[in-house]
Symmetry: C2
Subunit: 238 residues, 2 copies
Amino acid sequence: MTAFPCGPIEVVGLDGDDTLWRNEEYFADTQEFFRALVAPHADGVDLDARLAENERRNLELFGFGVKGFTLSMIETAIEVSQGRVGASEVQALLDRGKAMLAQPVELLDGVAATVAELAPHYRLVLITKGDLLHQEQKLARSGLAELFWHIEIISEKDEPTYERILERHDIDRSRFVMVGNSVRSDILPVLAIGARAVHIPAALVWTYEHADHDGSVPTLRSIRDLPHWLASTAATAA
Amino acid sequence: MTAFPCGPIEVVGLDGDDTLWRNEEYFADTQEFFRALVAPHADGVDLDARLAENERRNLELFGFGVKGFTLSMIETAIEVSQGRVGASEVQALLDRGKAMLAQPVELLDGVAATVAELAPHYRLVLITKGDLLHQEQKLARSGLAELFWHIEIISEKDEPTYERILERHDIDRSRFVMVGNSVRSDILPVLAIGARAVHIPAALVWTYEHADHDGSVPTLRSIRDLPHWLASTAATAA
């Protein structure tokens, strides 16, 4: 017997952005567009750093998601150019924000097959943060909605929020695992409340989400490896 | 016996914006600010109509709430001025949006006492739409959070959403009443799914929310009258 949970998993929490579907690349592309647009009006300014700083400061009011990102881009463009960007640049940033919101969902490699494979054997919970409507739309566009037992769109992935989700659905933390790409949001707070987590790193990580775990967290190269990991966990516990 | 629900109420759904706390007035004030700011650059344009048109069109992507409203104001300012508004006007609109998000919550008259009076006798569910983080913050700032059995922050108040909420919490529709200021959002879809609704009109109604009911919906002048209405409903049913 150990204090660390080791029984078979019954409920699998799955992160959405960059675990199930492409996301950070759209932000990176838009940020490249932002740099090209604003650079001529802001000589020698580190545009990425200034945007990141404003995004961080605005998180408290805007929360996560495309709408807040768009407002932060507009604000940063005005600030770093000392008001030299005009209506056409602001409109171009607005249009990019809208395009991000309208973007079709691209599932990551192996997601459709793996989620369908897991659904009959585990209770799946989508746990995702960002703009409420946009996350709902992404889920609807993903074609995966019916495979989930519950959907949790939340404003912050911290310990109290995970505690609340487990409590609300009467989930035993020793039977729960969270699967995601962000160490900061999907792994550390879940370990902190005594549940398990599996890390599936993504190609790109937003600087805000950057964090490391101590190396003891199960790390998979692809979501395709998740069914095997879950089965071997059950075998070990038996 | 009648098909219309008539048993005693067990669960009371309460709308947030303009039912529990002031909201539409902040939008109206900001819109007045918008008009004064943009009018000099847009001779003879009906600014309210143009903003309303853009808000409506953008709802599909932005959803309800202050962030989308701010983006729509910026877009409209650029459009109606044919690009003559500059960085300072855009920044001013951004600042107004942020001020709206940071605004302290002002409970409407009678709300604090009435919600506290109802909480021991009914299961209270807050059912509110808008930006997820902002609605959470308003609830936290309201001081009422602990009085609610459940919190439902949703992207649209339509029939399927109400159906889903009742189902999720195992609420019998004949034991549920929704209380709110918006006929379109709080009353009509609730009646349509066979539950009851009580209308408490607010001083200001956003044009988008405007709708009428047929006059048969119980209408209270103040939330202070709600405990009496609930008690008399139970007495009639007994």
